[in-house]
């Protein structure tokens, strides 16, 4: 059974933002949503998560599938006394599989880590949260080379473990390396995808 089935779906905020779109996401599959800036990719993810609005069409999630969602806005951790371990515990994400340059500093406050370490840990806290369906909006944003290099096999491994992953990214190399297939999101004429 598909983990997510979308049929002729039109989503947006106050008004439709995208043209009707249809696809299925199977367990273990990584599907990329592509399109230019403002096409409505993030809006579509929000609507599929039940936060944005669905105007028409059908969206069926496997009722047993738990959802993990990484948005482009990363956790606001500046000045917050929160350790890496605590961030992972909050989303019930396992630290197993973290790269050594992160697993060694999980006891430190997040705001004492480097920007790259912080970004990767925030991503990891969602990537490894117990979920069968993952929406990742620009997961490679703000990651350094080491982070991107570790993310590719980590995504594969997560999919191999049975999760269906819907991914938005503007990095063509990253999409080509990580995704099984891609589907284009087209904006609705005269639409504004912002909430």
């Amino acid at each position: 059974m598909s983990v997510l089935e979308v049929e002729a779906l039109v989503a947006g905020w106050r008004q439709p933002a995208i043209r009707p779109i249809s696809f299925c996401l199977e367990p273990g599959e990584i599907l990329a949503l592509t399109g230019p800036n403002g096409a409505g990719k993030s809006t579509l993810l929000m609507a599929l998560a039940g936060i944005g609005q669905i105007f028409s069409g059908r969206c069926v999630k496997n009722p047993k599938a738990r959802l993990g969602f990484l948005t482009q806005a990363r956790p606001p951790i500046a000045g917050l006394p929160l350790s890496g371990k605590e961030l992972l515990a909050l989303t019930q994400a396992s630290p197993a599989g973290l790269p050594p340059w992160l697993s060694n500093c999980l006891d430190q406050r997040l705001d004492r880590l480097s920007g790259g370490q912080r970004q990767y840990l925030a991503l990891w806290s969602v990537l490894q949260t117990p979920a069968e369906l993952l929406f990742l909006d620009e997961p490679a944003n703000h990651l350094d080379q080491a982070g991107i290099a570790h993310l590719r096999p980590a995504l594969r491994q997560r999919a191999k473990a049975g999760a269906g992953i819907l991914l938005v990214s503007h990095a063509p190399d990253f999409l080509r390396d990580c995704c099984d297939r891609a589907i284009a999101v087209e904006p609705c004429p005269c639409s504004n995808p912002r909430p």
């Binding site: 806005a73 956790p75 606001p76 917050l80 006394p81 350790s83 605590e86 989303t91 406050r109 806290s125």
Partner: protein, 265 residues
């Protein structure tokens, strides 16, 4: 014996319960970027207490009702005018209402002065009981919902996408803060209560190496500075609110100048 209870233990225990509770609430308020809510709810509570006295109903009830009403209206007010202007607006509303009531009704003038000075030494038995009930409620609530408050602040979309109800962490927390502040201003004064909500959590944010330790450091700092202020105000026969605020402010200067910043290693 009864006189000793009246003069010493009743205010001492009432303040101690609040000195443990307010910094805990302040941590989560700071997390949500809402530290100024303490001032707003406190001042609205003060206005409510003065209004209640003018109407001849119990001041504690009046303060609680006004403060809870402000917290209950917060979601609607935020939808009406999103942004950071809500709490200053509520504070100014409460402040002007309090001063006008005190200026025009001689019967409430005394309470007005007490609410600004923080006359902890004259708290009633009901307030002692209410302080411990609020402490128990606050600790139980935060044990159960603290993680949700954190997750909602750090990964709000993940929280909502999981279909978890957000209202206990949103309106539930607002009501708890409003009720606690309404009670606290009647014991510690508006600024004394605000200082306890603002300063120990701020220091914990700077100094603690983890959230767990911040949950320990903030109430500990609140309790220690409160204890010192209680003794200082009692022996020097000074109003309690300003002494508490001064003790906390000096502690902040001291710890921020010489304290070790929060790193585990």
């Amino acid at each position: 014996m009864e006189l000793q209870l009246e003069l010493f233990w009743r205010p001492c225990l009432t303040g101690a319960a609040l000195a443990l509770l307010l910094p805990l609430l302040g941590l989560y308020l700071r997390l949500r970027g809402e530290s100024w809510a303490a001032l707003a709810y406190g001042q609205i509570g003060a206005a409510g207490a003065l209004g209640a006295l003018a109407l001849g109903i119990p001041t504690l009830l009046g303060g609680l009702a006004a403060s809870l009403m402000a917290a209950g209206c917060k979601p609607r007010l935020e939808r009406w005018q999103p942004g950071a202007g809500l709490f200053p607006l509520l504070f100014l509303l409460g402040w002007s209402a309090s001063l006008l009531l005190a200026a025009n009704l001689p019967a409430v003038e005394g309470l007005g002065a007490a609410l600004f000075e923080g006359q902890l030494y004259f708290v009633s038995r009901e307030m002692l009981g209410a302080a411990f009930v609020m402490l128990a409620l606050g600790v139980a609530y935060l044990r159960r919902t603290g993680w949700a408050l954190l997750l909602l602040s750090l990964h709000p979309v993940l929280f909502l996408a999981r279909g978890m109800p957000a209202w206990p962490a949103r309106i539930g927390f607002d009501l708890l803060v409003a009720a606690s502040l309404a009670l606290a201003v009647m014991c510690l004064g508006v600024m004394g209560a605000f200082a306890l909500v603002f300063i120990p959590p701020w220091l914990a944010f700077v100094l603690a190496p983890s959230w767990r330790k911040a949950l320990f450091i903030a109430p500990l700092l609140g309790f220690l500075t409160y204890s010192l202020a209680f003794v200082l105000a009692l022996y020097n026969d000074q109003p309690f609110g300003p002494i508490l605020a001064l003790t906390l402010t000096l502690t902040a200067f001291l710890l921020l100048s010489f304290g070790k910043r929060g790193t585990e290693n």
